[in-house]
Amino acid sequence: MRRGSQIPVSLAFLAAAAAAFVLPDWMISLATIAFANGLVVLGLIVMWRAGLVSFGQALYYCVGAYTVALIARWSGLTDALALVLIGGLSAGVVSFVLGFLVARYREIFFAMLSLALSMILYGVLVKTESLGSTDGFSVVIPTFLGYAPHQEQLVLALYWLVLAVCAIAAALIHAYFHSLAGALAVPVRDNEIRLEFLGMSVSRLVHTKLVISGLLAGAGGALAALVVGHVDPNMSYWTTSGEFVFITVLAGAGSVGAAFVGSLVFESIRSLAFAIIPQLWQMLLGSVLLLTILFLPHGLGSLLGRLRRRLGAP
């Protein structure tokens, strides 16, 4: 059954990679940023399964982005793969350190503490003039193992890089969900006392989830920085975190693929809303969220599950 579910996912990634040859540039750009954000959403899903909602995930997104921008600026390193790796790892280290504090809290306290931490970073960045204050600063054009593309080639190269990172992350998180540490998410949500008396450390399980989601958010932010070519403190602002939570609700926590589908749907709706009703686009997004909660409480991912069951039935 597991192998069966991996085939359609791999096919979907290949199809997405091949689509780059036929799609117009603006669509590729939209998908690139959507999939980069999908990594952050995947991290939120990891926590969501254990009943934890972070309203401050933008912190790690922003740490990843600024790390990439600063490393490229100071060291002259331009290799995209190395930059994304460093961006992800730096956010992972930050989430590991903050995890000693955050992993002790649950529910609204967890949500508010993570929000507060992200707003501290926002405040610091806004006040730091050497980093461009509220304007931020631009990020160098990346290279790919020595290859230095421009314009259309750059758009394509970044798109494939994002897809590759997403595919690796999706495979690893899929494996994690089936491991003991990953599969015990619902037990963490249900009954911590029982888990402790079965011999598991709940705080360590939660801490691991925080680090995984930090790594993913950092990688997402690093990719976003390279794609947009600019970083600014808004990447750490609470509305950015809120957007990620929005996409998580839209996607649902049912599967790994849902994170990327949800993120793509969100970006599409936003662009569409912006084009059709520029003054009221937020209202349209709000309506979509409302409809999702009312009619798809388990998100878009549950549609995929239903489809699979229907196809699987004789």
């Binding site: 089936h178 491991s179 599969a183 037990p187 006392i193 008396f197 079965l198 011999g199 598991m200 450390s201």
Partner: protein, 263 residues
């Protein structure tokens, strides 16, 4: 003495000026079935909580299989082979009976380090087999696909105890296994539990208020009063003890009138 699996010496616990347990010295040989009786607030649960590491004793020592476990965290004590069930069943409410058992079995089998938890699968063939065996043993296999939160009280209790047995403990502490169960069901439930535990060769300490159950299932009775053991012996002897009758098992009026101070 070396034949004893659990050896408690001069154990005491104070909460500020309140003495919850004092001067408890007990030695339990392997595979014995021991009942712990006493009125509410007599220190039974405190005693259990100290052995399982939930509470840290303020005085005395606890040895399990000749190793000092005094004050160790509950997780480590579980790993050494002491497991427990709860007065109110502690189960994973949104999982099915099978998933509950499987999680318990997988944790029981997993290597003890962090990487082991990331690298082992929850639903390995061995953990599934162990879960199936335990569901059969505790006679709850027909509820296997029911969500645990919707289970009848008796099945919840059996699931709770079954999960405690996963991972092959040598000593099991049952905190009021029959509380919340109707009188008609009590004997049946204890019958299932005790034969399952005998099958697994587990030493049992169970807290119980129903003296008929104690007489029927225990080989030995520890009577607690005001934080310490006032009588220790076979049920026929202990339950006939005038002090035990006067303070614990005696006139029902006295028990009903006792102040509820469960810790």
């Amino acid at each position: 003495m070396s034949a004893s699996i659990l050896s408690v010496r001069d154990l005491g616990k104070r909460f500020g000026s309140m003495v919850a347990a004092r001067d408890i010295t007990v030695s339990v040989p392997a595979r014995q079935t021991v009942s712990v009786i006493g009125a509410n607030g007599a220190g039974k649960t405190t005693f259990i909580n100290m052995i399982t590491g939930h509470l840290r004793p303020t005085k005395g020592t606890i040895h399990f299989e000749d190793r000092d476990i005094t004050g160790l965290p509950s997780r480590n004590i579980k790993r050494m082979g002491i497991s427990r069930s709860f007065q109110v069943a502690q189960i994973f409410g949104s999982l099915t009976v099978f998933e509950n058992m499987c999680a318990a079995a997988a944790i029981g089998r997993a290597p003890r380090n962090f990487m082991g938890h990331v690298l082992t699968r929850l639903r390995s063939r061995e953990s599934i087999a162990e879960a199936e065996t335990l569901m059969e043993l505790f006679e709850i296999a027909r509820y296997r696909n029911m969500i645990a939160a919707n289970l009848p009280q008796g099945v919840r209790k059996l699931l709770d105890i079954g999960m405690a047995v996963a991972g092959s403990p040598r000593l099991l502490l049952l905190d009021e296994p029959t509380s919340g169960i109707s009188i008609e069901e009590k004997f049946n439930l204890m019958q299932v539990v005790m034969s399952a535990l005998r099958n697994r060769k587990i030493t049992v300490l169970f807290v119980e208020h129903d003296m008929e159950i104690v007489e029927r299932f225990a080989e030995r009775v520890l009577a607690f009063y005001e934080g310490t053991v006032i009588a220790d012996g076979p049920p026929t002897v202990t339950l006939a003890d005038p002090r035990v009758q006067a303070l614990i098992s005696g006139p029902k009026l006295q028990r009903a009138g006792s102040v509820v101070t469960n810790v």
